[in-house]
């Protein structure tokens, strides 16, 4: 039996930059039939067609700065937020920019790499690529990676709604996947983020990420969603990824279009927060601050 070489080669110890450069070209060509996220639109973004994310061929960014609000082991991090997203979470705290891929400024990978290196020299521990959702801008993200030092610790902050094709291109590129598991059931996912088949897609991506890189799973606790969303997420993590690091975040605030949903017009109450943490502890989750 003859085994064909995989189309996408795995990164060797010191070849991230070269591999990222090659994959950026591949990713860009894939925009002609874009299936980077699980919506699987198949539109030709190179020809100006738009899928559900409305993103074109060129990436833009709406924020790039050193921050300390992420997981303690990652901060200070130089965080670059790319405009646009494939989900439509009504409570998105950066909704105006995350829903609009034309928000912000054009993303110049080379200029951003210079800023990222400067941040590292000034004490940043990691470089984080996020959004919106960075997966829809994979060509730009990979080009950016190709311009960074091989030793830079890179974090891929994602909604975990990417496709298998996107995962292949990301394999070995980022040291840490920081992945959201937002909804514990497809009904809430459809109602609050207009996405179908959410749970299956995210679980598949989390399993993959755990096998291919370091993984931290984030859950933003939503008011009124402890039982329907956090409980199933926590129970799935305990059963399937029992050692994975989990960051349970209780700092929900009713941003963007959250007021469309009665239960999201407030912050998380202390009893809710306590109940959520108690559940995590009972299940033995590996909570990280």
């Amino acid at each position: 039996m003859i085994c064909a070489e995989p189309i996408i080669q795995r990164r060797n110890a010191s070849g991230r930059s070269a591999m990222a450069r090659e994959r950026a070209r591949t990713a860009r060509a894939m925009l002609a039939d874009c299936r980077l996220c699980a919506h699987d639109c198949g539109v030709n973004r190179l020809a100006g067609e738009n899928g559900l994310c409305h993103a074109g061929a060129e990436a833009r960014f709406f924020c790039a700065q050193t921050e300390v609000s992420d997981e303690l082991e990652l901060i200070p991090t130089f965080a670059i937020a790319l405009s646009g997203c494939d989900l439509r979470c009504d409570f998105c705290i950066t909704g105006a920019s995350s829903w609009n891929p034309r928000a912000g400024a054009g993303f110049d990978a080379r200029a951003m790499a210079v800023k990222a290196e400067a941040a590292l020299q000034n004490g940043a521990r990691t470089i984080m690529v996020l959004g919106g959702e960075p997966t829809i801008h994979l060509p730009a993200a990979l080009e950016f990676v190709s311009l960074l030092p091989e030793t830079a610790k890179l974090v891929w902050k994602t909604n975990a709604h990417g496709s298998a094709q996107a995962r292949e291109l990301l394999d070995g590129m980022f040291d840490i996947w920081l992945a959201d598991f937002k909804f514990g059931n497809d009904v809430c996912a459809q109602r609050l983020a207009k996405v179908s088949d959410y749970v299956r897609v995210v679980e598949e991506n989390l399993r993959w990420a755990n096998e291919h890189s370091e993984l931290i799973v984030r859950h933003l606790l939503m008011p009124g969603h402890v039982e329907c969303c956090w409980r199933p997420v926590a129970e799935w993590l305990a059963a399937n990824l029992p050692d994975v690091k989990v960051n349970l975040r209780s700092g929900f605030w009713p941003a963007w279009q959250a007021a469309r949903h009665a239960e999201l017009r407030r912050t998380v109450s202390r009893p809710e927060s306590t109940r959520a943490v108690d559940l995590a502890l009972r299940l033995g989750l590996n909570l990280v601050p």
């Binding site: 709406f62 609000s69 992420d70 303690l72 200070p76 000034n122 004490g123 996020l130 700092g251 912050t267």
Partner: protein, 74 residues
């Protein structure tokens, strides 16, 4: 006519550092996009806040600041 809300996030990406905060009636402060400088400010306001102090005591930055309550960025 639809009412437009102020844009969130970095108004001029790459030029200004931006943190956003929400002060709750009970005195809690939620912070999004916490920069080192803002964390330092919050730490000065309440040195006993463990959420903030753990973020201020990171390796010192030479040019930019950082710190405050974990943000709900998602």
């Amino acid at each position: 006519m639809k009412k437009h809300r102020a844009k969130k996030g970095c108004a001029s990406p790459g030029k200004n550092q931006v943190s956003e905060l929400l002060i709750l009636p009970d005195g809690q402060i939620l912070v999004h996009n916490l920069t080192p400088a803002f964390a330092g400010l919050l730490h000065k306001l309440n040195p006993d806040d463990e959420h903030i102090s753990s973020r201020v005591t990171r390796p010192p930055l030479l040019r930019s600041g950082a710190a405050s309550t974990p943000s709900p960025k998602s």
